[in-house]
Amino acid sequence: MNKWWSLIFCFVIQYGFSQAEMPQFVLKDLEGKQVDLQKISEEKTVILSLWATWCVPCINELEAITLHYEDWQNEFDLQLYAISIDDPRTVNRVRPMVRGKGWKYKVLLDTNNDLRRALGAATVPLTLVVRNNKILYKHSGYSPGSEDILYEKLLEFSR
């Protein structure tokens, strides 16, 4: 058993602190079209935000980013994908909520939480910055000001 643990430990050390890659995933958008997560970051920087309609901090984060979104898009040539982990109970609220709030993000659905599991998101929000399939930044949770750190990271990665 000890051998296993040391093996696991080595992996955690190596991959926990190196640039991890996005796993292979295809999710559907609100129009039912398939979006390959390994392709979306090929030409631009993408922010992936795992959120849910019932998660107040997630909505706070997306609302906070909305205020800066156009500026960020101009500055960094980026796209935000708001990936809803709402399950069949609440997934029908996603479309009216996104439109009703006037968000301009692309929306993807992870209804059975396969991506959430792969990314190890025990809690949401989980925010990632990805470019060329490399996960450059990950942040779990939201409190006011998280979006400023996200902006600083985007600046850092654009250099």
Binding site: Q14, Q24, E63, R95, P96, M97, N112, G120, G145
Partner: protein
């Protein structure tokens, strides 16, 4: 260590590793005021470690789970010990997708089949078997699966086979203006009838779906029929092994444009629970669920909003003590916003949210001595739950933003405590004010003030939560739900904090857990009242 070297060499290629670690522990304490005596195993923890790798089209992975020395209070006691609880290997290309081992799956909206995991609820009903996905025909998706369902660290006695087909008609027709799709599923459960006569070994459910979107309108209809099966109450077959078929109808439609969105969901369930073991029907740990029939109500985030929560009532019960045939009802959500920099919206805009849900039993006549009943298709029986809610979200200035919400609820007491329905109702009103003040450089204060008014049950509650964030990565909070209308009045206090770094997060909480149903995603788990310290750790790589 030597074992590790080949992997290092490999990792430079297209090999990709990912996984996560989650650990939730609690130390339970005696609390005389709460009349809670800590069990002999007063330290408990649930731990999960997942590890996956991908190499070109190949994937494999495992999940190790350890419940040491026993699972957290309220979790399925069958989850004792530690094991490599699930593992899988698969291959995927543009045409085929094959998985062997444990996997998760959902057909349509899950009404006929959903295998999923929710660690907070202690649900993991993954299937152990084989799944085949076929995408060789354009516009058509086909999935077939066969296997047994995970129960604790074992698998179900019943075997499940399923087939799901989805056809994208609009893309087949080359239509751009609208979106039209069809879907169909068949799910079969086979379980030996054993010594029983007149008990069907094989029960099959059939589902048909259609979705249609045009311009800013969207709609979806699903109908499911389940073959007759016996009724079960507390692991015993009731009603002299008489069998009853089941059905489900789900209609969802809405309209959404920038700044405005509305959605309505209507659902009717009649004798519609489906388990991989017939005797598991209605079990409190949500074991062996094949299909997913969540409560279609708004899922709330605030403490006092989560006291009176609806859970869906799909079952047929023909007992002298309990008579119900299913549920019928609707949920409506409306979102709209006043744009920023407009006269009414102000500098930052204002966002509104309205929700209404109303669920009732089927309008039925029961004949208990003869084991029969009749039900109307489209009329309502007794009300089980009704909720009206309205909330406003407003950012006042650069520093200060708020959320203000009111909710009015009527609920059958039997729903909240899991007892027979139709005796007492609880009427309650809830108001919440949440204010966040930014102090600059990532520091912020958040204050939630809540109140619940009711003349029923335990009377009025006042709630408060104060949170201070030193930075976006570190924060502390204190919260109290004060049942001052109760006899005696009672505080459920909690305080804690969290620290996050990248994807890693550690959180601790000390306090009293209000007992009752903990509901996530419309499925509930009963948690007894308790006091103690809990620590949660998560990490992904």
């Amino acid at each position: 260590m030597l074992l590790y070297l080949p992997f290092l060499a490999f990792s430079q290629e297209n090999l990709n590793f990912y996984g996560s670690l989650e650990s939730n522990s609690q130390w339970l304490q005696d609390d005389e005021e709460l009349e809670f005596t800590a069990p002999p195993e007063n330290f408990r923890s649930n731990n999960y470690f997942t590890f996956n790798f991908e190499y070109q089209g190949f994937t494999a992975g495992l999940q190790y789970e350890a419940y040491l020395p026993t699972p957290l209070l309220g979790y399925d006691p069958r989850l004792e010990g530690n094991e490599i609880a699930s593992y899988y290997a698969g291959y995927k290309n543009e045409i085929l997708d094959v998985t062997a081992g444990y996997f998760y799956e959902q057909f349509g909206s899950g009404l006929i089949l959903r295998f999923w995991e929710d660690r907070q609820l202690g649900i993991n009903n993954a299937m152990k078997g084989i799944r085949l996905g076929f995408r060789g025909i354009e516009h058509l998706e086909l999935t077939a699966l066969f296997g047994e369902q995970r129960v604790g660290f074992e698998t179900s006695e019943g075997t499940i086979g399923g087939l799901d087909v989805n056809l994208d008609l609009s893309s087949w027709a080359g239509a751009e203006a609208y979106d039209l799709g069809l879907g169909a599923s068949v799910v079969n459960r086979f379980q030996n009838a054993g010594e029983f006569e007149n008990v069907p070994a094989s029960v099959t459910a059939f589902s048909g779906r259609v979705n249609f979107n045009f311009a800013n309108f969207f709609s979806e209809l699903e109908a499911v029929y389940k073959q007759p099966d016996v009724l079960v109450y507390n692991r015993s077959i009731t009603n002299q092994r008489e069998t009853f078929g089941g059905s489900a109808w789900l209609l969802n439609f809405g309209y959404a444009i920038p700044g405005f969105g509305i959605n309505a969901t209507l659902r009717r369930l009649e004798n519609f629970s489906f388990y991989s073991d017939r005797l598991a029907e209605g079990n409190q740990y949500n074991r062996q669920l094949i299909n997913y029939v969540p409560a279609l109500t708004k899922q709330h985030d605030y403490l006092l909003n989560n006291i009176y929560v609806y859970s869906s009532q799909p079952r047929l019960l023909l007992l002298t003590s309990q008579r119900q045939a299913g549920e019928i009802g609707a949920q409506i959500d409306l979102f709209f916003s006043l744009p920023k920099k407009s006269f009414l919206g102000g500098k930052y805009g204002t966002k509104f949210e309205f929700n209404y849900s109303n669920w009732a039993g089927l309008d039925s006549k029961f004949d208990i001595p003869d084991n029969t009943y009749t039900s109307e298709f489209f009329s309502r029986g007794e009300t089980y739950f009704r909720e009206v809610g309205f909330s406003v979200r407003k950012r006042w200035n650069k520093e200060w933003s708020g959320i203000y919400s009111i909710t009015d609820i009527k609920i059958d007491e039997g729903v909240t405590i899991g007892s027979p329905l139709g005796f007492y109702f609880i009427n309650a009103g809830i108001g919440v004010i949440e204010n966040t003040y930014r102090l600059g450089r990532g520091r912020s204060v958040r204050l939630e003030l809540q109140h619940l008014w009711t003349k029923n049950d335990r009377g009025n509650w006042a709630g408060g939560l104060l949170e201070y964030n030193f930075s976006p990565t570190i924060g502390i909070y204190a919260a109290d739900s004060w049942n001052y209308g109760g006899d005696p009045a009672f505080h459920y206090y909690n305080f804690g904090g969290s620290y996050s770094h990248g994807s890693a997060r550690i959180a601790f909480n000390y306090g009293r857990q209000r007992g009752g149903l903990i509901c996530i995603g419309g499925v509930c788990r009963y948690v007894p009242e308790n006091t103690g310290l809990s620590v949660n750790l998560q990490l992904s790589f």
